[in-house]
């Protein structure tokens, strides 16, 4: 049962063997996850990957088909939402339209009969700098203000765990940046455990201490943002977080510190500790901004991987940098970002160029190399629609 007291501090969240099936499809296959107390945790993934379902399971708005949910070590799997010390900032904010901002914020406190609900609500509104609007109705506020009220309404309850369901999705870019900073500073101030669901990789990377990349109901990789970016373990992560050049080939040799992969006759070397697989067919990759562009064949060196010659097939200028697409026979198309240190492109379309990168910058994936497209398709809309229809049909039959 929910006690009348506030949580002393953030609690850790543990999901053990969670499975969630809806009639007709499985939203979450098998999920084990531990989120340490006091952290800012982001669940990142494309739509339909199961991240929102995970959040709703934690909030108690859905029941897991299998598995256990523990908050602060206590099993809450069978507790109703109103019995859990968890609060949610909903994607649509879900502010009660018939109540004032103050009444909205005080709602949870009043339900738990906590003393001085009004005073505490004002305090929470001061934290989000909206106390002067406490007498208004939610409809009178801008999107950003509504978002802050939703946040105040959740944190005023001092939950052990605060769940944020794409709370910034409805805001424009500038406001979103502002809110990201604000959220982050509030989290640091109140010291709760934040679980943030988003499909925006930049948002996840700037705000969270730990990011879990979800795909098709499973966690692909979990770690600090830099780690995920610099050392992606799967092709999905390599391409969902930024872009990657991926090459597949056979491991042709290895030393104590590195392995060499034969990609259509070209040797690509990757440090052993940055490669997940050391034998057989493997996929290796490198981020486009780590590549250098050369107009003449660069000198061979064991520390440098070189590809080429190839031809530039596209040049696109994007302010800070310029992206070059280079078609290299036998290898495919390679993408290179070059910072715009000088005016004008280094080389024009059709020019013959070589690319190189420091061996230390490469990474090797753990995926079984398969003819995956460079940018793996998300669950496409047709499939989602079919699943949805099946779900509805079986729901109707059941009724």
């Amino acid at each position: 049962m929910a006690s009348g007291a506030f949580a002393e501090s953030g609690a850790d969240l543990e999901l053990v063997g969670i499975q969630k099936r809806f009639p007709g499809f499985t939203a979450i296959e098998h999920l084990d996850l531990t989120i340490p107390a006091g952290s800012f945790f982001a669940l990142l993934g494309p739509s339909g990957c199961g991240k929102t379902t995970t959040l709703r399971l934690v909030a108690g708005l859905e029941d897991p088909t299998e598995g256990k949910i523990l908050i602060g070590g206590k099993d809450v799997t069978n507790l109703k939402p109103y019995q859990r010390q968890v609060n949610t900032v909903f994607q649509s904010y879900a502010l009660f339209p018939h109540m004032t901002v103050l009444e909205n914020v005080a709602f949870g406190l009043r339900r738990r009969r906590i003393d001085d609900a009004v005073g505490k609500a004002h305090e929470a509104l001061r934290l989000v700098e909206l106390d002067h609007l406490s007498a208004r109705k939610p409809q009178q506020l801008s999107g950003g203000q509504q978002q802050r009220v939703a946040l105040a309404r959740a944190i005023v309850n001092r939950p052990a765990l605060l769940l944020l369901d794409e709370p910034l999705g409805a805001l424009d870019l500038k406001l979103r940046r502002q809110m990201q900073l604000e959220l982050k500073s509030i989290q640091e101030e109140v010291g709760l455990t934040f679980v943030h669901v988003t499909h925006d990789q930049e948002e996840a990377m700037t705000m969270a201490d730990t990011v879990a990349v979800m795909n098709k109901g499973e966690i692909e990789q979990l770690g600090a943002p830099e780690e995920l970016y610099e050392l992606p373990r799967t092709a999905f992560v390599a391409n969902f977080l930024g872009q990657s050049n991926l090459f597949t080939g056979h491991v042709s040799g290895s030393t104590s510190s590195s392995i060499s992969v034969d990609v259509e006759g070209t040797k690509i070397t990757v440090p052993t500790k940055r490669a997940q697989r050391h034998k057989g067919e493997v996929t290796v990759g490198v981020r486009p901004e780590k590549l250098h562009l050369h107009k003449d064949a660069p000198k061979k060196s064991p520390d440098i991987n070189t590809l080429g010659p190839g031809r530039i097939i596209d040049v696109s200028f994007s302010g800070v940098s310029t992206q070059y697409m280079i078609a290299i026979p036998g290898i495919g198309t390679v993408s290179v970002f070059q910072q715009n240190m000088t005016f004008g492109p280094l080389a024009g379309e059709g020019a013959e160029v070589w690319v190189s990168w420091n061996v230390d910058h490469g990474f090797g994936l753990e995926d079984e190399p398969s003819p995956t497209p460079r940018f793996p398709a998300d669950t496409d809309t047709a499939t989602i629609a079919v699943q949805k229809k099946r779900a509805l049909m079986s729901e109707l039959e059941e009724a």
Partner: protein, 289 residues
């Protein structure tokens, strides 16, 4: 004619026509619909105006020929005691049937949206059928039932009949409101430590209230103006529409026009007041926000 804006865009984008011609056509097209609407409204209001004007007719028995202007009928409505009795009966029936139908219908609407149960489609059909059944059939059916059961027809049977046909309309109206509610609002209520009971009374019900009020007003209007079903189940009891039907052959007294006009203006004032107050509220919201 109707697709003014669409056409302007297409013209501008795809094949710019000479501006003069476009301007001329636009000018005509622009006025066709407003003029049509104005004529349509006049047409809709003609019988109302007629009824209102003839409430001032200094008629003797029938109220067909204009015999001069008088306020008498407005001042002494109940001189025609039958009109007043019929009107009173209509009010009693309308209020009672509205209360009963609103309670029954709201309960069903909430159950339909919030719970799942067996026989759902059978229940939906049972709710839909009264609306798809012509009033004569509803009236004759009930009358046949009362006849078979030997029930004396009167005020009670009319109220029973009116409640019956209002329930479905209440369900539809309230259900529409329930289904526009963002389910996240109730989830937020549960998330914020509201028990199911508290969530219902503090979140769901207040948000449903406008729909419930609309349903009650609709019920009253349907009941007050019903004649066909009433006619089959009234026995000797008179209601306002029934009184008019019976007197139609020999002529309606101007007092009936007075009551009808008064009810009309009362209803219009209520509706306009609601409109204006919501407009004022909107404006205030806009100004503050």
């Amino acid at each position: 004619m109707t697709l003014q804006e669409g056409r302007v865009v297409s013209r501008a984008v795809t094949r710019p026509a000479p501006p003069s011609r476009r301007g001329a056509r636009l000018g005509v097209g622009k006025w066709v619909l407003p003029i049509y609407a104005a004529i349509a409204f006049v047409f809709l209001l003609i019988p109302i105006a007629y009824t209102f004007v003839f409430s001032f007719n200094d008629s003797v028995k029938s109220n067909i020929v204009w015999r001069g202007f008088t306020f008498d009928k407005w001042l002494n409505v109940c001189d025609q005691i039958d009109v007043c009795v019929a009107f009173g009966n209509s009010l009693i029936i309308g209020i009672t049937a509205t209360i009963a139908a609103t309670i029954l219908g709201t309960m069903i609407a909430i159950a339909l949206v919030r719970y799942r149960f067996r026989f759902r489609s059978a229940i939906s059909l049972l709710l839909f059928l009264p609306m798809a059944t012509p009033e004569v059939v509803l009236g004759a059916g009930l009358a046949a039932e009362f006849l078979g059961a030997g029930v004396q027809k009167g005020l009670g049977t009319i109220i029973i009949a009116h409640t019956m046909f209002c329930v479905s309309f209440v369900v539809v109206t309230v259900k529409a409101r329930v289904s526009t509610l963002d389910p996240a609002l109730e989830e937020a209520g549960r998330d914020l430590y509201g028990s199911p009971n508290q969530v219902f009374w503090r979140v769901t019900f207040p948000l449903l209230l406008p729909g419930i009020i609309a349903a009650a007003l609709l019920s009253f209007a349907l009941s007050f103006d019903d004649f066909i079903i009433t006619n089959f189940n009234a026995g000797t009891t008179s209601t306002f529409p029934k009184y008019i039907y019976i007197s139609a052959a020999r002529g309606i007294p101007a007092e009936a026009n007075v009551i009808a006009s008064a009810v009309f203006f009362l209803a219009i004032i209520l509706v306009l007041a609601a409109q204006i107050s919501s407009a004022v509220k909107r404006k205030r919201l806009a100004k503050v926000g």
